[in-house]
Assembly symmetry: C2
Homo-oligomer: 365 residues x 2
């Protein structure tokens, strides 16, 4: 039995925020606009949202305190400001950090719990309505029921999920992603691709998730040269933002797998951006999967029209040539932390501590 659900209304196209006054008007009377210190402004998205608010007589406050990889204290602060101001909906602008903070603020505004209790699975009251405006093409958070926070108590980044934090509306305007530099563009594209790939090969894969995942992976492959050379056209940016939304829809059905679990260890312990962490580990991960899933990966390579699945490894080696210093006792700890993540059990391979350590070692200088 398979289930598919994705209740977010997705609005795509240039200037879609400005053109959607009717939606803003019917969502609420006073918004908390949650964003980071820079990306909302640099991308132009914050200006567009403020203009839409003003045009439609909606009260708003900007809360621009979101940290990269926000921790529980940071999201609590965001939520406290919004709650005290008595807002009735939340607009998130940015990458995954900002969107997941916005989702979390929406929950904490209506539920008198501490952030760590988000992980207990008992959110009682409906969160405030959430509107999501991504400024990167990677997170997919605009169409997922998940938020990922840095949890010191768990020693890693960890996600919680609730179908009521699917954003009500997602606004996909590729002009915002034009503010990303080469690294952020490539890192976030790798994040999006890993969502699609992991959802496709996951033990929880579904017919619908594969439909979305294949489309997203094809777009990434078609965009490879533009990413490698950072020769981004409007069309490529639009394609990648669309693909990122498709990939988010994929993981809304399937969750992620060991690659994300490993990536969290690199991000939490070494500060490597989330997408890059996945990108660095991808080639070794796919090689490891291929040992137990030859037929599935061969079929996938046919559907992607790439001849052989090793082409994907090559693509990631070219996009992420960097090698980093990790001490060997750290690698053992990362492997142990990885094994604790719940996404491990959706991985179609028996990855033990030694095999996971091997994947980490593949990126060591």
């Amino acid at each position: 039995m398979e289930t598919y659900r994705m209740p977010t209304v997705v609005i795509m196209g240039r200037d879609c925020v400005i053109k959607s006054g009717g939606i803003f008007k019917k969502t609420g009377r006073k918004a908390a606009v949650v964003t980071g210190k820079t990306s909302g402004r640099l991308s132009g998205a914050l200006d567009d949202v403020i203009r839409a608010m003003k045009d439609n007589d909606i009260g708003y406050m900007v809360i621009d305190n979101v940290d990269n990889n926000p921790g529980l204290d940071n999201v609590r602060e965001t939520a406290d400001i919004a709650r005290k101001a008595g807002v009735d909906h939340i607009v998130g602008i940015g990458g995954g950090s900002a969107l997941d903070s916005a989702k979390t603020a929406a929950v904490l505004c209506t539920n008198d719990i501490t952030p760590i209790e988000l992980y207990d699975g008992n959110i009682v009251n409906d969160p405030l309505p959430i509107l999501a405006v991504p400024t990167t093409a990677g997170t997919g958070s605009e169409v997922t029921p998940y938020a990922i926070l840095t949890v010191k108590e768990k020693g890693t980044k960890a996600s919680y999920g609730d179908d009521r934090i699917f954003p009500k509306y997602a606004f996909l305007d590729y002009k915002y992603t034009g503010s990303m530099d080469r690294d952020v563009t490539v890192d976030t594209a790798a994040d999006s691709f890993s969502h699609a790939f992991e959802g496709y090969i996951s033990n929880r894969t579904t017919r619908m998730s594969r439909l979305f995942a294949l489309e997203s992976m094809k777009i990434f492959i078609d965009s490879f040269a533009a990413l490698r050379d950072f020769s981004m056209t409007e069309k490529v940016r639009e394609d990648l933002l669309y693909a990122s939304m498709l990939s988010g829809t994929v993981i809304s059905q399937t969750g992620t797998t060991a690659l994300h679990a490993m990536g969290y260890a690199l991000t939490y312990n070494m500060g490597i951006p989330h997408g890059r962490a996945n990108g660095l580990l991808f080639s070794a991960y796919i090689d490891e999967l291929d040992k137990e899933n030859k037929e599935m990966l061969r079929e996938l390579s046919v559907k992607l029209n790439i001849g052989d699945i090793s082409v994907l490894s090559d693509v990631f080696r070219v996009l992420f040539p960097e090698r980093i210093m990790i001490e060997s006792d750290k690698i053992r700890k990362f492997a142990e932390d990885t094994l604790k993540q719940k996404s491990m059990k959706y991985t179609p391979a028996k990855l033990d501590s030694e095999r996971i350590a091997g994947i980490f070692r593949s990126i060591v200088k």
Copy 2:
């Protein structure tokens, strides 16, 4: 700017109704189970729904009065019974007639209006929650915000739409479609294909609708031999039911085009089943479209891997070889009625009365 929304939760797989007790339990306490006189029983779907209701201590009443191509009096009667009984949700079981009656009952139970007022676009109160169990693989109504009723006042079948009549849940169990005979199987498959095709070529086409439409059309083409020979396996039935849901999602974004408008005239005036009406007209419709959309249809044939778009015309000529008697003054009237349908303006061709009459004449004995 493009919008995508499809809020229905889709549950697919054998025995999915029986296995979804948790969903029934949280949807309401007393259901009206709306179905026709035969298909709910023959398919086994009614038995499964009743078992799920009993297993989960949900009160229910069966209203099995739905006519084929239900008219306004018929849906009003269904709704009156449900309203008087004080039900709090509606379960529709059947093809388009039953599902659209269920949707309409859900609206009329909470809105004190006459059925003709459904077409005024001012449904005030939220309809009751709707659960949909299709027993054919064609209508797609389980994932659309539309209901199509026979409206004597308009002299045709006509659809109304409201996003609040998207079913909350759709249960897709291919074992129910095994009760269809050859004609109903082929007719409904043609309906599903026409939804995908019309959504793909529509002036309102979107990137998301094309993704779903291509997948659905590919499945239909892969199932062609099984349909032609009526050699239906479980896999083919499962594929076609999945494709029908994809096609429904397509028209939820795009609506239909002139083919459906023409089909309604045949169904209303000559009693030809909806899917067969579309199937009969399809070959001439595509030939007519090809005069103004050579490039689009050539591209489509490449994506469908069928060499040339005329292959589709051939497929429909093989599935629908029948020719019928229509008097020539009737054809003129059908063409005039067709031109009044709102879907005409989404058709990517300047079809005037004469060209539409020509399409009708193509199926005359």
